[in-house]
């Protein structure tokens, strides 16, 4: 593998398995958007931060909400300010370009150096949202009708799109993406992830925590099984609270950091009672 291609290998604080690195590198090399799916808390959003850090590029974030429209990411024409100014005469209202605000995706496309653009939780928006971005993602260019300007990216940004699977994404959009599904980490990988976040944690304690964590995930029908980010928080709480290893072996202190749902707490307590027997 040439080094020119093999750009991303994770960062000191983000451990990326080989498959994920490969997916990122393909997306970077081909200039295609990378679509990342996976259980909540497996580090989809963090990946964009890690890629930006690993490749030494600035990161632009675009957090999608249910009301977000595709054009908002490119630019917003602030007609209200213009109306205000026309009444009170603060600025020159004849020049519309004063009232064009470039959105996150527009910034990534107009920047002079290569950017990492994170489009977070693309499935939150309307069903048509991804389709409305097809042309811009293909050509990495956009047009502003109000000022009749076309901006074309000089450097194709690295686009990372995350989805929580709340809605199906349209096939035309999927075809253009590189796809990676972040599977839940195996215990070995989890141990190294924990090692990165809590470097001073004694090995025995880490092993104990991870064992308890995977046992907890096996409790049937949890509404929201705890994920990587919750494990890291939990270990943080245990370290801060100075909880000894034997206690963790017997009980689950600070359960609230792991299990966030009322019904789940009940299920876990019943399961723990079974384990003790």
């Amino acid at each position: 593998m040439t080094d020119a291609f093999d750009l991303f290998r994770g960062t000191p604080s983000y451990i990326a398995p080989a498959a994920l690195c490969d997916a990122v590198n393909v997306a970077v090399a081909l200039g295609r958007p990378l679509l990342v799916k996976g259980e909540p808390g497996t580090g989809k959003t963090l990946l964009a931060h890690a890629v930006a850090e690993g490749l030494g590029m600035p990161l632009i974030r675009w957090h999608v909400k249910s009301t977000t429209k595709a054009v908002d990411g490119l630019y917003v024409y602030d007609a209200i300010s213009r109306l205000h100014d026309s009444r009170f005469g603060d600025r020159d209202v004849r020049d519309i370009s004063h009232y064009i605000r470039i959105g996150p995706m527009g910034q990534a496309l107009t920047a002079t150096d290569r950017q990492v653009l994170l489009i977070d939780e693309v499935d939150k928006a309307d069903l048509e949202f991804p389709n409305d971005l097809l042309r811009e993602l293909d050509e990495m260019a956009f047009h502003i009708p109000e000022t009749d300007q076309t901006h074309t990216a000089t450097q194709r940004p690295v686009v990372i799109i995350t989805s929580n699977n709340e809605k199906e994404l349209p096939p035309a959009f999927l075809r253009r993406c590189i796809f990676h599904f972040i599977a839940f980490p195996e215990p070995d990988l989890m141990a190294s992830i924990v090692g990165v976040h809590h470097p001073d944690l004694p090995d025995a304690l880490a092993r104990q925590c991870i064992a308890r964590f995977y046992k907890l995930r096996q409790v049937g029908s949890l509404r929201k099984p705890p994920s990587t980010s919750e494990l890291i928080d939990w270990i943080g709480a245990l370290v801060a609270g100075g909880v000894p290893e034997e206690t963790i072996r017997k009980e689950l202190p600070f359960l609230g950091t792991l299990v966030k749902h009322e019904d789940d707490l009940g299920r876990v307590e019943r399961a723990m009672a079974r384990w003790k027997r």
Partner: protein, 412 residues
Amino acid sequence: MFLDLFYALRARGVPVTPTEWLTLMQALAHGLAFSDLVRLYHLARAICVKSEHLYDAYDQAWLEVFRGIETPAQIRDEILDWLKNPVLPRELSEREMAMLEAMDLETLREELEKRLAEQDGRHDGGNRWVGTGGTSPFGHGGVRPGGVRIGGPGGGGMAAQIAARRNFEAYRTDQVLDTRQIGVALRKLRRFAREGARMELDLEGTIHATARNAGEITVLERPERKSHLQVLLLMDSGGSMTPYSKLVSRLFSAASRASHFERLEACYFHNCVYEHVHRDLARWEAWAVEDLLNTLDAGAKLILVGDACMSPSELMTRWGSIDYGHQNDLAGIDWLRRLDEHFDHAVWLNPMRLPLWSHPTVQRISDIFPMFELTVDGIEQAMMHLSGQRVEPPDPPEGPVRGGGWRHPNAW
């Protein structure tokens, strides 16, 4: 042989398009996956497979194509061969042909060979390929950027081993069914529309129209946006349905939780629909089908759920109902036809797996209603059918139709 992967994927229902295949070729042209087969495995998956539900199908296709390929050199030769004489997927469009020409295979091949020569020289200097000389394929990925490398067996067989583990079997949608998945599938039916009188102030539109109109107030109104989706869910509660009761109740709970139906009516029937359906499982509260047809208009979506297995007389003859004391003047099949005529869109979901659909009454009913399996895939297709898209229901297998030879798969 390399193209075999394309067809193997298609054969397993992974919707790889020629465009994606060309993207893969482009990626290979960048010299991306020649050092080891594991990388090729990741690369092809990232480009060709767009859903974790299809990862397992991909693994199977990979196994079929690459089982027995021991060294990456073999696959490299395959790809070089392919580049020398590119055989293309048959269904290339003109645009895709143009894309391919733009790739300029000749230079691509030269560059590739150059790169290969370089790498050969730099590392082993012999006939072994870079990356297999004792280091694990995993080592490349930088699992720990600090420099810790995970050991493991080297060689090209790794990718096949990874595929053979079939880690993603649990994500298949043609098998797994939980309420959330059904809920997502039911959302395919969602269709909001602005219909009827203008009654709602379009605030944003008004502001924009006013601003654009240089400050002259321009009021815009629009009809309210709401869902007009009415759904009638008819479920078989007959004895042969007992093994599937959990499945059906999950469907029911997903449907009743779905917030995008304006109206959901759920009723039960026993083996076949006759004059009445019942609003409760115990079949106390009857609802005349005539009435039901009067209250729901043709735009409502009808979903029937049942195994469609019954004695042929229950379906085909007058007074055939299984319920003792119930004398139906119209044969069950005629009632089903009336339902089908009334509703523009209707589907039948069958909890039995497709290979068991050889029962004669299943065949008769699937002639009337498009019948789909009660799996996530099946529900999705059924929902697409209900929303007016053209979806071909699966073909039931030809079975031993002669009388008496067929027993219900759950019969003891």
